[in-house]
């Protein structure tokens, strides 16, 4: 409002916004964003698209599109007749019978009850158009020309089903109670497990963050143990504890562990650390001043708990609930081992694909499993965004005060949870070392002699180690580089947004779904990337992709914490960005980079869901071996292999902790504030 100022024009003059020329750094960063973006498209978006489109495809034999002629022994030809007409006449197949899958075969001899391959009769067959293909032996014929064959060759003719796009698979799914009943089962199991896990984890996290209980660091370590083993390991332990020969079976009072009870107990075990970590973070950011205010208002501790503690942790609780729910509903290994006849979605996918080779129905179940997973993911993202705004720089950190009675009660709570976790691991360890439960309890290492069992032997273990190593190295490089480029690039708005979306997507995709999508995409002979099918590469690619999001978010958090002015300073000094990246960014972020790599390694060792569809005989994995050995009834070696994964991950974690400590010590000089 000042007097003589030059406020002549107020609106931007017409024209285009000035754009800075893109320099070499800009091009290189764009190149990396595009390359890693394309990786995510190829390793995630396209397979998912392939799977989605497969779920709408049905295969059936279209008899009206084939004609057959038959001659007598003298060579006098009868009339050309459509197979559909013959079928109507004979009433041989109903339309349901003619539904098939991509591998379906139907022999036209089925329509001639008097057919004999020794007969001197001759046959002619043709499709009415080029699409109506059929096999003669192994040769695929795609022609509408008549083809004349003797009886012995006609025996080897097979019609192929034709694909059709539509909702047929979905209507078939929902008209089959054995299939859609799994939705209810899955949701029930996930809901019950979530409530129990949250209850236990909240108490545990509360005790560690808000009381003066002793042995906190020990409990913290025990709480993390389930992360180190595949989710199906608690299943094996439960068999030993509560199975028909279990040492605690009477506690079930006649109920069977095989089914919902087993899945829930196991789910609580393997989701516990995830819920604990989230709630613990939420409880650790309490503001002392709120509690002092409550105390000065003479609120009872019960009232303070409900009006201060719970609201303060509500986002953490919601987030933990959704994470737990998603983990349970998408988990495959545990219900496979302990689920018995109780069908759940994730196992249905496996059964459809591996058991019945019905890939299209597997795709339908995958799409259905995607719904709760995507939903939970979206809610979790919204809640996580809110949580950040709760933190204020002026908060006074909460200091718990000793309370002997309460502290003892919390200690008791933690001991119970810790006992539950350790007893499961300990049972597995015992099972691995016992010759033949429960008849011969002599200790032995025979169960570790994996080469004598089915499932891949020691080679599977070494494969796993190799796969996890590659995943940790390749995954960390890709994830961190991608996060850096997308965070520090100038301009390129649309590219960044698309990349961020692609990087967030894997978190919403259950492993089983990803694995099945890979079959559709990479097993297609028309796909040039088909060469990686059945190799170690596809296992690494699927695992890196499956665990991409958490690594990406971790890297972004670290990158946002370093000074945003580093890049401008470096470019004003006319230094290329990669010098800054190598000399400053990577060294400063090294602890985070190590965190990402250990996360990738541990998960690659334990994952079953994505790779169970993708391993080949040459690339069998330890976690899959546990599954297969359990399936084959060699349950003690399965436990032993599970323990091998446990030892490996525990060792990796210890190495990681040592490396982190060394880095911190070496860099102490410049980290002091």
């Amino acid at each position: 409002m000042s007097g003589a100022s030059v406020q002549t024009a107020t609106a931007l003059p017409p024209g285009r916004d000035t754009r800075l020329a893109v320099d070499r750094d800009g091009w290189i960063k764009r190149f990396f964003v595009i390359v890693i973006g394309l990786y995510l498209v190829g390793a995630l978006a396209l397979p998912l698209y392939a799977m989605l489109s497969k779920s709408f495809v049905t295969y059936s034999f279209d008899l009206s599109r084939y004609e057959v002629m038959r001659s007598d022994a003298e060579g006098n030809w009868g009339p050309a007749r459509s197979l559909a007409a013959i079928n109507d006449e004979l009433g041989r197949f109903t339309p349901q019978d003619l539904a098939s899958n991509v591998n379906g075969r139907l022999a036209p001899t089925e329509f001639f009850p008097d057919f004999s391959f020794r007969s001197p009769e001759r046959w002619r067959i043709r499709g009415l158009d080029a699409e109506s293909h059929y096999l003669v032996g192994l040769d695929l014929i795609r022609s509408d020309e008549w083809r004349e064959l003797d009886s012995n060759t006609f025996r080897r003719v097979n019609l192929r089903p034709l694909p059709k796009t539509g909702m047929d698979n979905y209507s078939a799914y929902f008209s089959n109670p054995a299939l859609f009943g799994s939705i209810g089962n899955s949701v029930t199991i996930a809901a019950i497990s979530t409530v129990i896990t949250l209850f236990l984890a909240f108490g545990f996290a509360y005790a560690i963050n808000r009381t003066c209980m002793r042995f906190k660091s020990t409990f913290r370590m025990i709480a993390m143990m389930p992360i180190l083993v595949p989710s199906l390991l608690p299943g094996i332990a439960l068999v030993y504890m509560f199975g028909t020969q279990g040492y605690l079976t009477p506690l079930l009072m006649g109920h069977s562990i095989y089914g919902p009870i087993g899945i829930v107990i196991g789910s609580v075990f393997f989701t516990f650390p995830h819920a604990f970590l989230i709630i613990s973070t939420a409880l650790s950011i309490a503001d002392q001043r709120q509690y002092e205010a409550a105390e000065s208002l003479r609120a009872s501790s019960w009232r303070t708990f409900w009006t201060v503690t719970i609201p303060g942790a509500r986002y953490g609780l919601i987030s933990a609930a959704f994470v737990t729910f998603t983990l349970v509903i998408t988990d495959f290994g545990l219900p496979k081992v302990i689920g018995g006849q109780y069908n759940v979605l994730a196992v249905d996918i496996y059964k459809q694909v591996i058991g019945q080779q019905n890939f299209e129905m597997g795709a339908v179940v995958s799409v259905i499993l995607l719904v709760p997973a995507v939903l939970a993911f979206v809610v979790d993202r919204i809640v996580t965004r809110r949580q950040v705004s709760l933190l204020s720089a002026r908060s006074v950190p909460f200091q718990p005060r000793p309370d002997r009675k309460a502290d003892r009660l919390w200690l008791l709570w933690c001991i119970c949870v810790a006992l539950f976790i350790t007893s499961i691991i300990a049972t597995c360890q015992a099972a691995a070392l016992i010759r033949f439960w429960p008849y011969d309890l002599t200790p032995t290492l025979a169960n570790y002699d994996f080469n004598r069992m089915d499932g891949g032997g020691w080679a599977a273990y070494w494969n796993s180690l190799q796969m996890a190593g590659w995943t940790a190295v390749v995954g960390t490089v890709i994830v961190f580089t991608g996060a850096y480029m997308v965070e520090k690039i100038d301009g390129f708005r649309s590219g960044r947004t698309l990349f961020q979306f692609l990087a967030m997507l894997p978190m919403a995709i259950p492993g089983m779904v990803l694995g099945l999508a890979y079959i559709f995409f990479f097993n297609d002979p028309a796909n040039p990337a088909n060469v990686i099918y059945g190799t170690m590469v596809i296992l690494v690619v699927s695992t890196v992709t499956h665990f991409y999001t958490v690594g990406h978010l971790t890297a972004l958090t670290a990158l946002k914490q370093i000074d945003a002015e580093f890049e401008p300073v470096a470019s004003s000094l006319r230094q290329p960005f990669w010098r800054l990246f190598g000399r400053v960014t990577v060294p400063v972020c090294l602890p985070t980079i190590l965190d990402i790599s250990i996360y990738m390694f541990v998960n690659a060792m334990t994952t079953v869901s994505a790779v169970v569809f993708l391993y080949s005989t040459k690339t069998a994995l330890a976690s899959v071996a546990v599954l297969n050995m359990d399936d084959a009834g060699t349950i003690a070696p399965a436990a032993a292999m599970g323990m091998m994964i446990f030892y490996t991950n525990a060792a990796a974690r210890i190495l990681h902790a040592m490396a982190s400590r060394r880095i911190m010590r070496r860099t102490q000089a410049w980290r002091v504030r």
Partner: protein, 362 residues
């Protein structure tokens, strides 16, 4: 608002520069020349566009419209890496994991210079900023003021044509700030590097700049030397933002301004008689007079309503009839004239110190 000394070819020429963030226009039609070797301050309240202008010059956030020429070359669309400047940010942005020496050497390495030369140059720069012994330390081991000097040394290491300082002193405490002001100014004079500093601290701008660019709401209000800006503010905003003022609505009569209860002689050139104006008077331009001083223009009989002690001077709240005025009186004057709360005091406002601006409603 272009330059007043058109003799030399300007080093930096900014023409018709606009910057919009969505619907918000942050810079409007900026024209500015900066001469070689000048120390220029962009001064204004937060949100005035000074940092936006600096970032446009640096190529960090490109302008929406307009051109920038540096040393005769059009750099409007050059990315930051293609421009020729050194920059110091408020955060210093020192690389935490590199020693002070490696920080300073960052822009020198990778340029084909021999190691010995780099080492010598780093030592020279460390001496220049007065920290010759600190080369082996890490930034976190230095004080804020020391870090600031290292950031400066790193920026000038590559001998840039232009030095940009983005609020370089605002993260420091008051004492260090005053000391560093002087040092930076000295250094700039020694090197002769054209420098632009962004600041919201008027004292900083007045004490360091050769010329000050006062900005408000995305426009340049005034460009001038510190004394020009202070003594002859071009707009009411400048008068208000730099230093303090008493101000009133008034009407122009020939050679005089009339306001409720006051009628003062003033320099009214440029304002038509009868037009509404805004009059501003700085507290230090109200001079105490002995009661027996000879008659002169704008002599007013005031009543001292209240006195406030502000350390190096007194602030007097005066009443002239119904009109309230704030005046600053030196310790000496207060002693000499025995100015006390409740006493009467004769004051004079020199006619050329009555600042007249176009009225807000005009």
């Amino acid at each position: 608002m272009t330059d007043r000394t058109p003799a030399a070819q300007p080093y930096l020429e900014i023409r018709n520069l606009w910057k919009a963030f969505g619907d918000f226009v942050a810079l409007r039609d900026i024209d500015l020349d900066i001469h070689p070797g000048e120390f220029v301050c962009f001064l204004g309240p937060s949100g005035c566009g000074k940092t936006t202008l600096l970032r446009a010059i640096a190529g960090l956030d490109p302008q929406s419209r307009g051109t920038i020429r540096q040393g005769g070359k059009d750099i409007s669309t050059l990315p930051a890496s293609g421009r020729d400047y050194g920059i110091v940010f408020q955060s210093y942005a020192l690389f935490p994991n590199l020693t002070v020496e490696r920080n300073i050497a960052f822009g020198l390495e990778n340029t084909g210079r021999p190691k010995a030369e780099i080492k010598a140059r780093v030592a020279e720069l460390l001496a220049l900023v007065g920290l010759p012994e600190q080369g082996q330390k890490y930034p976190a081991q230095l004080s804020g003021g020391q870090q600031q000097r290292i950031a400066l040394a790193r920026a000038i290491a590559i001998s840039p044509g232009l030095l940009l300082l983005d609020e370089p002193l605002s993260a420091l405490d008051a004492k260090v700030r005053v000391h560093l002001r002087h040092e930076i100014k000295e250094l700039q004079r020694k090197l002769g590097v054209t420098t632009i500093m962004v600041t919201h601290d008027q004292e900083e701008a007045l004490s360091m700049a050769d010329r000050i660019v006062v900005m408000n709401h995305g426009v340049i209000e005034q460009v001038g030397t510190p004394t020009e800006i202070y003594r002859h503010p071009a707009t009411l905003f400048v008068a208000d933002f730099i230093g303090e003022t008493n101000h009133f609505d008034a009407q122009v009569q020939s050679g005089r301004v009339q306001m409720a209860g006051l009628d003062l002689a003033a320099v009214t050139g440029g304002h038509a008689p009868g037009s509404a104006v805004r009059v501003a008077i700085r507290p230090e331009d109200i001079l105490p007079m002995a009661s027996d001083a000879p008659e002169a223009e704008n002599r007013l009989a005031a009543q001292v309503a209240d006195m406030e002690f502000l350390g190096s001077y007194w602030r007097a709240h005066l009443k002239v009839g119904e009109v309230a005025l704030v005046a600053n009186f030196s310790m000496n004057a207060v002693r000499r004239f025995d100015i006390r709360s409740g006493a009467a005091q004769l004051v004079e406002i020199p006619a050329e110190r009555v600042l007249v601006f176009r009225g807000a409603s005009a």
